[in-house]
């Protein structure tokens, strides 16, 4: 039964000739989890917000959206977790929706008690949104939406700004809401890994149109059959590996499914687990016994940390939430002064991408930051990162992924010798991630990137470092790093017990050919 049906729906934003979404036909079935996927700017958010009248985008519409639920039974969680909370404590925020609905005190107390129990948020009730992590804020926003007991839940890129572990627990919560409470869920995401495991059906959009529609398995196999080079980026790496090995016949989304179906031809020889500092000979950054503690903070964030980064070496710093990745980058950038220890840089030409790339822009147009420098290089950056269309837009009006790319372009244009990137792949779609990695490597700068994105680090990094307890616990080349890890590693490594870490390793291990339309 269709809860919402969209027929021939198109929407034009006031100032544009091209429709943001075009001729959409869609059935959202009751009790299902539907995932709408697509690259940044493909119209998925426009489509999602059109489903709830109160927040529907303003523009000229054609076609029809008919829902068999009343508008007040549709809950929505909008993307940016910073602006999701409107008051100064969590409990006020959770009560806010119910107060707006005019519920009496007994029903408010009842809903509050049981919903908070369901979410396990008792500890956070009296905290201020400012001290919550991104994952906790997003969970609080979801909890607030659930207070109104919606029948249909719309989520706009709920996990794209979260680290993998927070994203996983958020998606598990969505799954529980769907399975235990029978709430129908529609999620937009720009990457499929993660959400695909809880999806009943998946819709792939591009340029405002639906290009694929079906169950996750069907969609992945259809992309494979069509040898669709562009959309092949939306196949998660494990699914890509399983499709390659089985030559398009079967697809696995979880390590469990993969391990059940495929056994490697031979176990790979483990390479020596040392950092292969093959790239660059000169030291670009040397940290010695760094010590840092935030004023008034409870403990030391950085404890006697030693680290060396070579010129031209692409280093990824991994580690759990709050392990001090951002702090370390800020110290190397010179924003924070270490309390003790030595920091040596071979150059003062530093490029720094902050965690929130919005802070990077202070001009009115994206172009303002992209001025000066080598003209040819500038043009090539703009084309490679797909920024041509957004040059004249305000930095706050473009999508998070586009902002991230524009900031990187602006940094690279200055030709820095040391590149410090805080979560560079946050909000970036799979294709652009590859482009970004290529550009970073080509720039020849000593790069230090903090990231949670294990696939990205495994595929592109020269060296991976694990930050734990304020120090670099160990550092290795990606294969040794992720192959030796059991929990903090890629899904491919989980599925193969560490004998293959990336898609490329799978190809080698199974001695098969990479299909021509797949690029890495």
């Amino acid at each position: 039964m269709a809860l919402v049906s969209v027929s021939n729906f198109s929407l034009w934003y006031p100032d544009s000739k091209l429709p943001a979404v075009c001729d959409i036909n869609l059935q959202i079935k009751k009790g299902e989890v539907t995932v709408i996927c697509g690259p940044s700017g493909c119209g998925k958010t426009t489509l999602l917000t059109s489903l709830k009248k109160e927040v529907a985008p303003v523009g000229i519409t054609r076609g029809e959206i008919s829902a068999s639920v009343s508008p007040s039974d549709i809950g929505i969680v909008l993307g940016d977790s910073d602006s999701q909370m409107v008051t100064s404590t969590v409990i006020n925020d959770l009560a806010f929706y119910m107060e707006n609905l005019g519920l009496d005190n007994v029903s408010m107390k009842r809903r509050m008690a049981e919903t908070i129990g369901f979410f396990g948020m008792e500890e956070l009730l009296y905290k201020s949104p400012a001290v919550l992590s991104g994952g906790q804020r997003q969970l609080a926003a979801l909890c607030a939406a659930m207070m109104a007991r919606p029948k249909l839940l719309l989520l706009d890129e709920p996990v794209s700004q979260l680290d993998p572990l927070s994203a996983k627990s958020f998606l598990e919560m969505i799954q529980r809401i769907n399975e235990e409470l029978g709430v129908t869920v529609v999620i937009t995401e720009h990457r499929t890994d993660g959400v695909i495991k809880i999806a009943d059906s998946i819709i792939l959009m591009d340029g405002g149109k639906i290009v694929y529609d079906g169950t996750p398995g069907e969609v992945m196999q259809n992309i494979w059959k069509a040898q669709d080079e562009k959309n092949a980026y939306f196949i998660p790496s494990l699914a890509k590996a399983s499709l390659t090995v089985s030559r398009g016949r079967s697809v696995a989304f979880t390590p469990k499914d993969f391990a059940k179906e495929f056994t490697p031809l031979e176990s790979a020889e483990q390479s020596d687990h040392k950092a292969e500092n093959s790239v660059g000979k000169d030291r670009a950054v040397i940290c010695k016994s760094l010590l840092y503690r935030y004023p008034g903070g409870s403990g030391y964030v950085i404890k006697n940390l030693d680290m060396k980064v070579n010129t031209g070496q692409f280093t990824c710093i991994m580690g759990g939430n709050g392990s001090g990745k951002t702090t370390l980058l800020k110290i190397v950038a010179g924003i924070l002064r270490p309390l003790d220890g030595k920091l040596k840089r071979n150059s003062e030409k530093i490029g720094y991408l902050p965690q929130n790339s919005t802070a990077f822009f202070i001009g009115d147009r994206v172009e303002d930051e992209l001025s000066g420098g080598d003209l040819a290089y500038r043009e090539s950056l703009i084309d490679a990162l797909g920024l041509r269309d957004v040059l004249n837009r305000h930095p706050y009006d473009i999508s998070a992924g586009e902002r991230q790319r524009a900031a990187l372009a602006a940094i690279l244009l200055k030709k820095p010798d040391i590149l410090l990137l805080d979560e560079p792949t946050k909000g970036v779609d799979p294709y652009m991630k590859t482009v970004m990695a290529d550009l970073i490597k080509k720039s020849g700068a000593a790069t230090l990137a903090s990231t949670h994105d294990v696939e990205f680090a495994a595929t592109h990094a020269d060296v991976c470092m694990m930050l734990f307890d304020g120090d670099i616990a160990f550092e290795m080349a990606p294969f040794g790093f992720f192959g030796g890890n059991r929990y903090y590693t890629t899904e491919t490594a989980m599925a193969t017990g560490g004998s293959a870490v990336t898609y490329g390793d799978v190809i080698k291990l199974w001695k098969t050919e990479k299909p021509g339309f797949i690029r890495e």
Binding site: E54, N92, A95, E99, N100, L101, N105, P354, I362
Partner: protein
């Protein structure tokens, strides 16, 4: 090389939840503190002001710890010097002339008036220390929301923004600190800060639009609003409120009929003490002792061997 440096030991603040008075309904605590604030202005007798000042210092140390109070002393001294000096220099009333400064008389009356003014200000500031600890912004808003729901909601949103924007301004400045932008010279400096400010403003406006959308998505303003009851009003809250109301009424009546008053101008005289003053002095002492009595009763109840005190 120094390794494993340990920071200077800081005295940990006692957990506010250990205090029974904190668990009194926030509206009652707010009423109680409003009463003391009023008393600061109602009584001008030095003995009364001194009593309130001592109480303020005591509660500040009791509820917030020594560090919080002594951290404030420097600010207080600074204000004290300014107030006394400005009063002495601008007011030349009174008959006890101490000396002449550039042909202007400096009077003892003006100095004492400045001192009393300083004492009153100190009372207020020090009282706010413990008040802030007992009634944080969330609890204050809760109380306030009962009186003016819309204003309270707007205030709550504003408080959130205050911290958010402060952090944002820092984020923007951090990024700019790396670019090596020319900040030499006054004009460049002004340009630099103006650009950061303008970026912050557009960020805020953008954020405001998103928040508006969130409000809309949570159906704000579409139905008659109710408000969530966070704090129950229990019997001991009632007893406490009664004590606060009764004592304060008496004190107010006393102040209106002239108890605890002292006039500095036109001529400085040693303060007189009447029987009526003494009665109201005791009443004020009782009023100020309310939190202490609450803590004391709770402590006694907790120590009762059979727990009968708690179960009553």
């Amino acid at each position: 090389m120094r390794r494993n440096k340990t920071p200077k030991k800081e005295l940990p603040q006692k957990d506010i939840l250990d205090f029974r008075f904190y668990m009194i309904h926030p509206a009652v605590i707010t009423a109680y503190y409003s009463g003391i604030f009023a008393c600061v202005f109602m009584f001008s007798h030095p003995a009364f002001v001194a009593l309130i000042l001592i109480f303020a210092i005591f509660t500040a140390i009791f509820y917030c710890g020594k560090a919080a109070f002594f951290g404030m002393v420097r600010t207080l001294v600074f204000f004290g010097v300014i107030i006394i000096l400005s009063n002495v220099l601008t007011s030349h009333r009174g008959v006890h002339i101490l000396f002449y400064l550039y042909n202007n008389p400096i009077t003892a009356e003006a100095a004492v008036a400045g001192l009393v003014g300083f004492a009153m200000l100190s009372c207020m500031l020090i009282l706010f220390l413990s008040f802030n600890r007992l009634i944080d912004s969330g609890r204050f808003l809760y109380v306030f929301a009962r009186l003016a729901p819309k204003t309270a909601f707007v205030t709550s949103m504003t408080i959130r923004y205050f911290y958010l924007y402060r952090n944002r301004a820092k984020e923007i400045a951090d990024v700019r600190s790396i670019g090596g932008e020319d900040r030499g010279g006054f004009a460049n400096k002004v340009r630099y800060y103006a650009r950061i400010f303008s970026a912050l403003v557009s960020w805020c406006l953008e954020e405001g639009m998103k928040t508006a959308l969130v409000l809309k998505s949570r159906e704000y303003g579409r139905h008659t609003r109710t408000s969530y009851v966070l704090y129950k009003f229990i019997v001991s809250d009632g007893i406490c409120l009664f004590a606060v109301a009764a004592l304060f009424t008496l004190l107010a009546l006393g102040a209106m009929t002239g108890a605890g008053q002292y006039n500095i101008y036109p001529k400085l005289m040693p303060p007189s003490v009447s029987l009526r003053d003494m009665i109201f002095y005791v009443l004020l002492l009782l009023y100020l002792a309310i939190p202490l009595v609450t803590e004391g009763v709770a402590a006694v109840k907790r120590r009762m061997p059979d727990g009968s005190g708690i179960c009553q």
